[in-house]
Symmetry: C2
Subunit: 293 residues, 2 copies
Amino acid sequence: MKYFTEKDSVETVLARTSVAADERLQEVTAALVRHLHAFAKEVSLTEAEWGAAVSFLTKTGQICSDERQEFILLSDVLGLSMLVDAINHRRPAGATESTVFGPFHVAGAPVRSMGDDICLDGKGESCRFTGRVLNLDGTPIEGACVDVWSDNADGFYDVQQPNVQPKWNNRGRFITGPDGRYEFLGIKPTSYPIPDDGPVGQLLTQLGRHPYRPAHVHFLITASGHERLVTHTFAEEDQYLASDAVFGVKESLVASYERLEAGATQWHCEFDFVLTPSNAVPPLSTSSTHIRG
Amino acid sequence: MKYFTEKDSVETVLARTSVAADERLQEVTAALVRHLHAFAKEVSLTEAEWGAAVSFLTKTGQICSDERQEFILLSDVLGLSMLVDAINHRRPAGATESTVFGPFHVAGAPVRSMGDDICLDGKGESCRFTGRVLNLDGTPIEGACVDVWSDNADGFYDVQQPNVQPKWNNRGRFITGPDGRYEFLGIKPTSYPIPDDGPVGQLLTQLGRHPYRPAHVHFLITASGHERLVTHTFAEEDQYLASDAVFGVKESLVASYERLEAGATQWHCEFDFVLTPSNAVPPLSTSSTHIRG
């Protein structure tokens, strides 16, 4: 019979887990309890601080809705989201680096023709985006899907302003041809604050941190035989590049914006994406079997 | 300019905190980020697991209400509540040990006369509770307030069944006289499960753990010049003594229940509480100054 003691707190808790429980769950729970208890012991967590933490977590859960995920925001500002991304997407040299997915992707954006304009609200400084999707050895990838999304000139995604912005504003999918090239018109992105009117915003204020993300364009690039790439390109010279509230910036993802002297388009941004091969050939999907049958 | 890397993830995040932020907040945040990142690295947390954690925390927050605090329950079943209690209430040898406060205390219970019956619903096996409130040197403490609360024979506190149980059922406050003695009638407590129909209950199931607490009576004992004591006494021979879902049991808090042979009262439980002196004399309160003025 073993009762709880401060000294053996971790062992006492872990001894309760059934040996029949899922092995990975046991492993993750054991590490979580070990770190949680070590944290409380290290800082001699007071009862008032424990109470404040319970209240903070409760408020964080209660502000979540279909349109808002405050726990992802919390994970973001603590650097956990970027860490999980880094752990799960260690890429070989030369491959484009990944960054956080963010909460604003919408699946099923319209597939557009190369050169189309994705800015539907007429706001912002027009920019031509061009580049190639390449293999690690520099070979262009045909049939890659370049799924792009970004905020509008006011710093909001269309889904944040469903009654203000046209549906699919600053979003679209482009399928590369044999040259691996993509090209579309959009706008030079603007920096914006993450939603900061909730518990996470209050935490940032208390830590003396601002809530801004440097201007960026999101890309999700998929191609048969290659790992899915979730990344952004960041606008060079943005004032928040070195202090992204969610730590998403990597040096290799900072893109040049060239100012154009003539014509309606004011900027040009060229950026190549280099994909890594999949570790394995994906199995024949059920749907293609069905089609053949 | 320092961007996020897997290797320097902790330093990158902590460098953002303003040096002007509250010192204790900086200390706690630094330890939290260090342990959170170490945890994720140690288990190589997958994106699916991260997503499951976000979903779990969101559900935990959203089930909270005025009557239910699922984050306290989570803290309880991970042993964190008992650890925080232990860290903040290291008591000298001979003093009664503390245990978790729990969510069911209600301030302002009726002050009753010694010997009164606190069981108002007529359910359960009647028990006479007696004992003394003592100083560390064994001197009885006069004027100590013994605030007691427990579940009814069905395993529910009155506040969990406001339309079923009489208000203040199995609750009361008793003020000791010069002999330091307390005495009241109540019931031999019964074991009960913590609320297990939410995310925490699901976690316990996945870990192969039961949700039961061994039968216990809660005590909050206050006396001028002494530290507040929050504790329970546990019923000896309860089947869950060694596996309390919230780890609240300490050997010194297991109380004997003597079966009585004659009369309406079926049990007797004798337990002395030993308080520790306050570290400092409390300052003269504003209200007493006001009374004197």
